[in-house]
């Protein structure tokens, strides 16, 4: 078992192996992702019952909640990939981290936009300083910081290392930021209506949500694979196997 | 410049240099700088790294000094990897890069004091003497920004006179020095080698007067 894991780790470190194997894996993520997203969307928008308090406007949770979950998860994954790169000098990990950043930021942005759209009919304004939305906004700032830093560094190596260090510092800070924002929020405006209640949710509403969450995860995996493949090609562009690939394309 | 205060050579340093590179290879941005380079720096050696610009002289110097770990192969101090005995190694070698680490608002004496702070055995008198030898006597109270580039370089080089290390690693130390300064530094290098010290140096300056000189040519292999 341990040996098998070790073998997998060493193989994952080889960009060529990853590039070849990911081409075969990709459909196994992309097709179920499309299925889940279609089924979840249709079910959630057309068949799930309306909320007794919020009416139909609650249906935006089918986009908002999965996007928000992934935005946070993606940051952690980016930081962990960065950590693997810093500790074991595994270049693939750095490229995965670089691939995650813009996707995580996009999900974060999607969660913010859907939150604002939901806010208009519910609160009557596009933006309310609600605890979750504020945390999400700060998370977006964290993503911006990492991406701006990666862009500003001169070499690939320093860019990857700087991004990794900053995302690890951010990862340690996220719980502190979340806690302080929640604390601040209860102090200033105890919100009466929340986009997602922790309380019970009817089964007919919950199941499509779960399907959407799974679909978003699969979509995320698909996107990461595709972007990492691009990163591999770019960084290995001077290696012979990539040159051969390009020759074959021509 | 003449040596006003000859150093007591027998007590100058307690250990001798035993630094070796084993199959050192380094590439930068997909370009191989050097490959499978092996050499030793022993007592009395003066080794000049030669080669055109961009051949990797500074890179090799820095990884021999332990400042750069991004290479293949190993650098050893007394048969131990320099990274695992770095504290020891750092006290036995003096590294002066082409950046002089001079703070311009401080006086030469204050700068020198900071440079030698890792060697508590160096006395304040020795610092004064060193400044006198690099002909900066009388400039002790003047901030370095009012000194010329050559004078600032001499402040940095004055460390050679006071830190008791067997190995000197010097990156282009002749830059900005005038004729007298060049002659003084050449004499100092010869003296250090004669008393059993070792020098690893990059320089476009010909050091052929010193018999112990060996050259390592970089930038020949593809």
């Amino acid at each position: 078992m341990w040996e098998a894991l070790k073998r997998l780790y060493h193989r994952m470190g080889s960009p060529k192996w990853f590039y070849e194997i990911s081409a075969r894996w990709l459909p196994w993520f992309a097709i179920p992702a499309a299925l889940c997203l279609i089924v979840g969307t249709v079910w959630g928008l057309a068949f799930a019952p309306a909320d007794y308090q919020q009416g139909n406007s609650f249906r935006i949770i089918y986009i908002h909640v999965p996007a928000a979950i992934l935005a946070q998860g993606a940051y952690a994954m980016m930081a962990i990939a960065g950590g693997i790169f810093l500790i074991w000098r595994m270049k693939m990990a750095a490229w995965v981290a670089a691939a995650i950043a813009p996707i995580g930021a996009s999900f974060c942005f999607l969660a913010l936009i859907t939150g604002a759209i939901w806010g208009k009919p519910t609160w009557g304004t596009w933006w309310v300083w609600d605890a979750r939305l504020t945390s999400m906004l700060l998370l977006l700032f964290l993503y911006f910081g990492v991406m701006a830093l990666q862009k500003a560094m001169e070499t690939d190596d320093t860019s990857a290392k700087a991004g990794a260090i900053l995302s690890l510092v951010g990862l340690v800070n996220i719980p502190i930021i979340k806690y302080s924002v929640e604390w601040w929020n209860t102090l200033h405006q105890p919100a009466t209506l929340k986009l997602t209640e922790e309380s019970t949710m009817a089964m007919e509403m919950l199941i499509p949500l779960l399907i959407m969450i799974v679909g978003f995860y699969l979509l995320f995996a698909t996107l990461i694979f595709m972007r990492t493949r691009n990163e591999v090609l770019w960084h290995e562009r001077k290696k012979s196997w990539v040159k051969k690939l390009i020759e074959a394309e021509k | 410049m003449t040596r006003s205060a000859p150093v007591d050579e027998s007590k100058w340093f307690t250990t001798h240099c035993d630094l070796s590179a084993h199959d050192v290879s380094c590439e930068r941005d997909d370009r191989i700088l050097f490959e499978n380079l092996s050499f030793t720096v022993k007592k009395g050696d003066l080794i000049q790294l030669a080669g055109p610009n961009g051949a990797g002289k500074t890179t090799l110097l820095r990884l021999m000094a332990g400042l750069n770990q991004d290479f293949d192969g190993e650098v050893r101090w007394y048969d131990e990897n320099i990274q695992s005995c770095f504290q020891d190694y750092a006290r036995q070698r003096l590294y002066i890069g082409h950046l002089s680490a001079i703070k311009k608002v401080l006086t030469p004496l204050e700068n020198l004091r900071w440079f030698v702070s890792s060697w508590p055995e160096v006395s304040e008198d020795a610092l004064w003497q060193a400044l006198e030898e690099v002909t900066l006597a009388g400039y002790e109270d003047i901030p370095c920004q009012q000194l010329s580039a050559g004078q600032q370089r001499r402040v940095a080089l004055a460390r050679l006179l006071v830190t008791p290390t067997p190995l000197w690693i010097l990156d282009e130390p002749f830059t900005a020095l005038d004729k007298a300064g060049v002659a003084w530094l050449e004499a100092l290098l010869a003296l250090h080698v004669n008393r059993g010290g070792s020098v690893l140096i990059t320089s476009h300056h010909a050091l052929s007067d010193i018999p112990a000189l060996r050259q390592i040519e970089l930038g020949v292999q593809k």
Binding site: A152, I177 | G97
Partner: protein, 222 residues
């Protein structure tokens, strides 16, 4: 004297000879405070309500302004290279640098803030809270800021980038610092907020020097 204490001493001397280093952030602090009554409303009642937050925001911005220079000179003149060459722990060096930075930015801000808060009509009960929250909070600003300063030290025009990188990390300090002052002003207990700041200070004091040390190594030219 070790290189760390020598560096602390040297940087304090430099700050004493370059008063701009610590005076400019203070003047900036004062000017930012003056903007709020001018832009919003000079009514004393209104000012006293926003004073806590405004003073904290201004302190945060002033610290941010002074951070850009924290490691820049050391990277450019070769001082960083000498730290690494010395074999002394970069962790200790990072703490030393942060200590100096706090002495010339956070400490003066903490001392001056109560005076400037008078102009903002801060309620009488809030002055102790303002002083203590800044005393605990400004070192965290320096510690977290040092990570950003070390990451961006080699980047040209890194000042704006530094703000982007660091500001989100400052949010918890801002929330708890400002709320301590505000709560004190309306006669409520504020020990909890100070407790949060104290524990955050302990965490950052142990963890951030690792990140600073790692980030500093990125700035060595190869």
């Amino acid at each position: 004297m070790s290189l760390v204490t020598a560096t602390i001493k040297r940087d304090l001397i430099i700050a004493a000879r370059n008063p701009g280093e610590w005076l400019n952030p203070l003047m900036f602090f004062l000017m930012v405070l003056a903007l709020f009554p001018l832009a919003v409303d000079p009514d004393p009642k209104f000012l006293s309500k926003i004073a806590a937050g405004v003073v904290w925001v201004a302190a945060l911005l002033a610290t941010l302004l002074s951070l850009d220079a924290l490691f820049k000179a050391d990277v450019e003149d070769g001082t960083l290279e000498q730290w690494l060459a010395s074999g002394e722990s970069l962790y200790a060096m990072a703490l030393g640098k942060v200590f100096v930075h706090w002495c010339i930015s956070g400490l003066p801000l903490t001392l001056v803030a109560p005076l400037l808060a008078l102009m903002m009509n801060l309620p009488d009960d809030a002055y102790a809270a303002l002083f203590f929250s800044l005393l605990l909070g400004t070192p965290i600003l320096s510690l977290l800021g040092a990570v950003g300063a070390a990451l961006t030290a080699g980047v040209r025009s890194g000042g704006l980038l530094l703000s982007l990188v660091i500001l989100p990390l400052y949010i918890p300090i801002l929330i708890f610092g400002a709320s301590a002052v505000y709560h004190a002003g309306i006669g409520m207990e504020y020990a909890g907020q100070l407790g949060f700041l104290a524990s955050f200070l302990c965490i950052s004091m142990t963890l951030t020097p690792f990140a600073v040390a790692g980030a500093l190594k990125l700035n060595l030219s190869r």
